[in-house]
């Protein structure tokens, strides 16, 4: 269980979130929604331990860094980087160090993960050859091999076509069925209504659990 109590987050001097308390049950599937700048990404990063809290506490119930997978928005990555799909995935399959090798089981996991996202034939292709949707599938495959208890997804369906969105949603539902905790930042309220049992809505410095905005706010 993840327990948030009195969490306050800032960007420099600006308070972007304050007094957030609540619980996210182990194995639950939660969508994080709210307008741009409401602090969704920052909250996700804070849960992953990558953004400091200015006050309050986040109790991860004993999870450590290796138990957490954070899939950041992929758009910042250099897609001209000369690397193959399977290398992107394999590099994440183990905690890397100079003397650790990537063994047979890791390579098998890489193959299986790429097959799961429908890229079995693209294994040895350079990532430059991929569309935005295919690249997002590679990042999902990478998240699969991380085999984490807590999976944090930041706008996983941005710039992704409908077919890919359906496929990636099925991966998320599989994670949920396996008892992993999943928290995803999302914009599409309809999609959230249909697929996510729990929600956390962030608006101007206040938060509401399991209460979605009316459709009129969807444009945000």
């Amino acid at each position: 269980m993840i327990a948030l109590s009195g969490v306050e987050l800032r960007h420099g001097e600006r308070v972007i979130l304050s007094g957030l308390s609540g619980q996210i049950e182990t194995g639950s599937l939660t969508a994080l929604v709210g307008a741009n700048g409401s602090g969704k990404t920052t909250l996700l990063r804070a849960i992953a331990g990558l953004h400091p809290l200015t006050s309050g506490r986040i109790d991860l119930g004993g999870l450590v860094a290796a138990d957490i997978a954070l899939l950041a928005q992929g758009s910042h990555l250099d897609r001209s980087f000369p690397i193959t799909c399977s290398d992107v995935v394999a590099l994440a399959s183990t905690r890397l160090g100079p003397f650790r090798s990537i063994g047979k089981d890791r390579l098998a996991a890489t193959k299986a993960a790429l097959a799961r996202v429908g890229l079995a034939e693209m294994e040895s292709r350079p990532i430059q050859a991929l569309s935005a949707g295919q690249f997002q599938r590679v990042l999902f495959a990478r998240t699969i091999v991380q085999d984490a208890h807590l999976i944090l997804l930041d706008e996983p369906f941005t710039a992704v076509d409908a077919v890919t969105t359906r496929l990636l949603l099925s991966v998320i539902e599989e994670w949920h069925a396996q008892g992993r905790t999943v928290i995803a930042v999302l914009h599409d309220i309809e999609l959230v209504r249909r697929h996510f049992p729990h929600t956390l809505l962030l608006t101007d410095q206040s938060a509401s659990w399991d209460a979605l905005p009316n459709p009129g706010l969807q444009a945000a």
Partner: protein
Amino acid sequence: MLDFLWEPFALGFMRRALAGCLALSVAAPPLGVFLVLRRMSLMSDVLQHGVLPGIAIGAIFAGLSVWAMGIGGVVAGLAVALVAGWLARRTGGREDSQLAGMYLLALAAGVALISTQHSIDLTHLLFGNVLAVDDAALFGMAGVATVTLPALALIWRPLVLESLDPGFMAATSGRGGLWHLVFLMLVVLCVVSGFVALGTLMSVGLMMLPAIAARHWSDSLAGQVRVSVLLACLSSVGGLILSYNLDIPAGPAIVLTAGGLWVVSLLTGPLGSVWRAAAPRA
């Protein structure tokens, strides 16, 4: 008939220079490939100017000793690399104007310091002098190459991941900064070790130009590294021949050759070249 190709290397000092430059041609370009991938090409500029005050201070304290100048250069290079890293974090990646300020300052300070030493020829220091490649300089180049290659092999995988996705590296391991630092140290060592033969302003050329050119020949990292080493070796041989026959300093001659190969790659290489862009898509 082709005497001008072999004649230079009948001379002992040219063979020394060739051995040193070939050693550097194997070690430096792979680092250049990573600098390009990490969008740190400007960093190499900053380093080549940044090592100069250190080399000058080394010379002031110990005279014309390659070791003293080399150690001064390495210390100054590391200091510059650390300050540049701090600027990058402070400005959120928009450090280019401050880097430009830093290298102009370093160049001016270096030239001013060296001018106080009448025993040192500024042209040789900036642009290289193959006649000055003594045992110490040769061991320096060969030694740095010997350290760089295994070190790069060891940090290869974390470095690739850190270059591709630093955020992911930070989230999963938190030691991305360490690999980055080891990498920068190797870059500084390569820049400094080449200064006797190539000159401080030119030794970066052997690191960067083959690396930039290699992007037009291969879409895999290992392929780019191999191509960059090959191009650097060609540049070293071709540049030294040019230097001897035309009586120009080795540094500019080698960098001109590397630059020529880059232009050819840019115009005709199979990936992203001008010729490729003009050709109808198959």
